[in-house]
């Protein structure tokens, strides 16, 4: 592994420095993205366990995703993409933000983890005919302009027999209280304005979008934050954070 600055022709040195600083911020477990770092194990365990049982791989292995092609759409700094690659998957990670992609590339290079990062959108990837065993659609639908269009593109990229994971926030009064007032204003976990309540998506809306695109929900779980343990745990309550697993018939 080399520590040399990545060679890029399209961006200047000042930008590389800015991206490096941002990369350290994304990956600083005690920093601005602490909540995502804390949240990560529960999401990863959910993904791993369901992928292993669906594809018949061993969850005990450190490379259970070998042979699987995964798309991480809206990958941010690569907090999910890197673990997926470490577990042995071939990972394409996309984000519409050039900053996020550069930041993620710098970190992956530093850690020596192979991830194919692309500055692009779900629609453009679908258009290009990309196909994946698994599409990870995590904390994205609440940020996109048109949920139905976005879901259509994501579903189109799932191979027959493949899976899609959707994680998002429900549109309930409780979600307003906890995810916006609590997380952004009281605890200061997220920058103010990170989320807007009217863009939150209900499980029923996702079910409908999935069904309209040839997929169906096979599992769902709530994810709840235990304040005393400072830990996220799977829960039956889907009023705030939740995850849905959908399958495409083979």
């Amino acid at each position: 592994m080399t520590k040399a600055a990545p060679q890029r022709t399209t961006i200047d040195d000042a930008e590389v420095a800015r991206f490096s600083a941002l990369s350290r911020e994304w990956w600083n477990p005690a920093g601005k993205f602490r909540v995502l770092h804390k949240f990560n194990p529960v999401r990863l365990a959910y993904i791993r366990d369901h992928v292993c049982s669906h594809f018949g791989h061993s969850p005990q292995s450190s490379k259970p995703f070998e042979g699987l092609r995964i798309l991480d759409i809206g990958c941010g700094g690569g907090l999910i993409a890197e673990p997926m690659a470490r577990l042995g998957a071939e990972v394409v990670a996309a984000d519409a933000s050039r900053t996020n992609i550069e930041v993620a590339k710098i970190h992956a290079e530093e850690s020596g983890v192979p991830v194919d990062y692309r500055e692009t959108t779900a629609e453009a990837l679908a258009e290009a005919g990309e196909q994946f065993d698994i599409v990870l659609n995590l904390e994205v639908v609440e940020h996109v302009a048109d949920v139905n269009l976005f879901m259509e593109a994501c579903c189109a990229m799932v191979k027959p027999g493949g899976l899609m994971f959707v994680a998002t926030i429900n549109r309930t009064p409780k979600a307003f209280a906890l995810a916006i007032v609590g997380a952004e204003y009281v605890l200061g976990w997220l920058p103010k304005g990170t989320h807007s309540w009217d863009k939150f998506v209900t499980p029923a809306e996702l079910d409908e979008a999935l069904a309209g695109n040839g997929m169906h929900r096979i599992d769902q779980t709530g994810v709840f934050y235990n304040v005393l343990m400072d830990q996220w745990r799977p829960a039956r309550d889907m009023d705030v954070n939740y995850m849905i697993l959908a399958a495409k018939p083979a």
């Binding site: 350290r24 477990p29 450190s62 850690s111």
Partner: protein, 418 residues
């Protein structure tokens, strides 16, 4: 005892290990083995040891409870150790000034949990260390002996250890298992809390006229607790606490005078005694690291904590650290998460700190309560111990606690695979 499978070569400078353990003592080796043997996961683990990799001539005996024993069993080291260990079936605790001829026993622990299981085992330190080293060689774990670590630096995706020979060893997670004075802990700027007890633990092995029948004796004497812990045959391991100045004088005595002093304290139950091994003195202190983990570094064993030996919890705590940290590392790797991320290591700290703190407070309190030879205090503690002895529930709890099987114990402590 040179063995080519202990690799002496320095690590490839470009390589980043998953885990590098600094310190090849019992805790460090047990962790390396637990990680190496974890089912399904390939953990790239190496051990860096300052010494030559031979088990030191250590006169101590370790008390090992059932939970931590399972950790040794899981790493394949128990089979060898078992035959050389004594089984404790009963703990006889007394509290009597030196002059008294008769020592009424205050508390008999044993028989309340499971009649057939020993309460604990007494393991000679050298035998345990040797068994772990042999397992490390058998399994092909890289042990870099004769390697001193001179620097610890966090470098983003990994930590870098500088060695005295000018090399660097890199790992996503570095584990400090380098003992109570842990140089690595200092390099990482982790401070400690604690104090000296002003006491020294005199340790040795004795043989005796009568069989111990699995009894461990603990006499709370004015100088500090005095323990005889059963070994195979008519032999017992000795932990004899005295004020440090006095301990120094006792250690300087010739064997005959030393054994005369010993006989004064040992009580009549086991008959005549003879010295069976070298004597050693270990200054006693309480020490707890303020943090058990920071980004890319975790502390285990004596590097994280040292408690008073009166409850025989030193190695037990260390092996529980091993079980907890191994589980968190393996769980992280199975999720593709960086095992050196502080968010993962915080779980280790949260898991272990309460247990360690509780044991530190308990042993510190008992030592303070028992050491001064003041009559009213003796009456109070006699009543206290008598109450414990009569209360079956409390006794069961103490035994289970002593066996290390209460609470949300790590998998290896529960006897489950990782």
């Amino acid at each position: 005892m040179t063995d080519k499978s202990i690799r002496q070569a320095h690590a490839d400078p470009g390589k980043v290990h998953d885990v590098v353990i600094v310190g090849g003592g019992p805790a460090g080796l047990a962790l390396a083995l637990a990680l190496h043997m974890a089912p399904g996961v390939e953990v790239d683990v190496a051990v860096v040891e300052r010494g030559n990799g031979e088990p030191p001539n250590d006169p101590r005996g370790w008390a090992i409870a059932e939970g931590p024993r399972r950790v040794l069993d899981a790493v394949g080291a128990w089979v060898d150790v078992a035959t050389r260990s004594g089984e404790v079936r009963e703990m006889v605790i007394s509290d009597t000034p030196l002059g008294d001829a008769v020592r009424p026993s205050l508390l008999n622990l044993g028989g309340t949990d499971n009649e057939h299981d020993p309460v604990a085992w007494i393991v000679p330190a050298g035998a345990l260390h040797g068994a772990l080293l042999m397992r490390a060689r058998e399994t092909g774990i890289a042990v870099h002996t004769g390697t001193s670590v001179t620097g610890f630096e966090q470098a983003g995706a990994y930590a870098s250890l500088a060695t005295a020979s000018g090399g660097f060893i890199k790992a996503r997670l570095v584990v400090a298992a380098d003992g109570v004075r842990s140089p690595l802990r200092s390099m990482a700027g982790i401070r400690t809390v604690g104090w000296d007890y002003g006491q020294t633990g005199i340790v040795t092995t004795v043989s005796h006229q009568f069989p111990h029948e699995g009894r461990a004796f603990q006499h709370f004497l004015p100088g500090g607790p005095f323990a005889l812990l059963p070994l195979p045959g008519n032999r017992s391991s000795v932990v004899w606490t005295e004020e440090s100045g006095k301990a120094k004088r006792l250690l300087a005595l010739d064997d005959l005078s030393f054994m005369a002093e010993f006989a004064l304290r040992a009580g009549p139950e086991l008959g005549d005694f003879a010295l069976e091994g070298p004597r050693g003195g270990f200054p006693l202190n309480l020490l707890i690291a303020r943090k058990f983990a920071v980004q890319r570094l975790a502390l285990i064993g004596d590097a994280a904590h040292r408690v008073h030996p009166l409850a025989g919890q030193g190695l037990n705590l260390g092996l529980k650290d091993v079980a907890a940290l191994a589980e968190i590392i393996v769980d992280s790797l199975r999720l593709g998460i960086d095992p050196g991320a502080v968010t993962q290591l915080e779980q280790y700290e949260r898991w272990r700190r309460f247990d360690v703190f509780q044991m530190a407070v308990a042993t510190d309190g008992i030592n303070r309560l028992f050491s001064p030879d003041i009559a009213p205090l003796r009456v109070l503690r006699d009543i206290g111990m008598g109450l414990v002895d009569r209360s079956g529930l409390l006794k069961t709890w103490i035994l289970r606690e002593a066996a290390g099987v209460t609470g949300s114990a790590p998998k290896l402590v529960q006897g489950l695979p990782l």
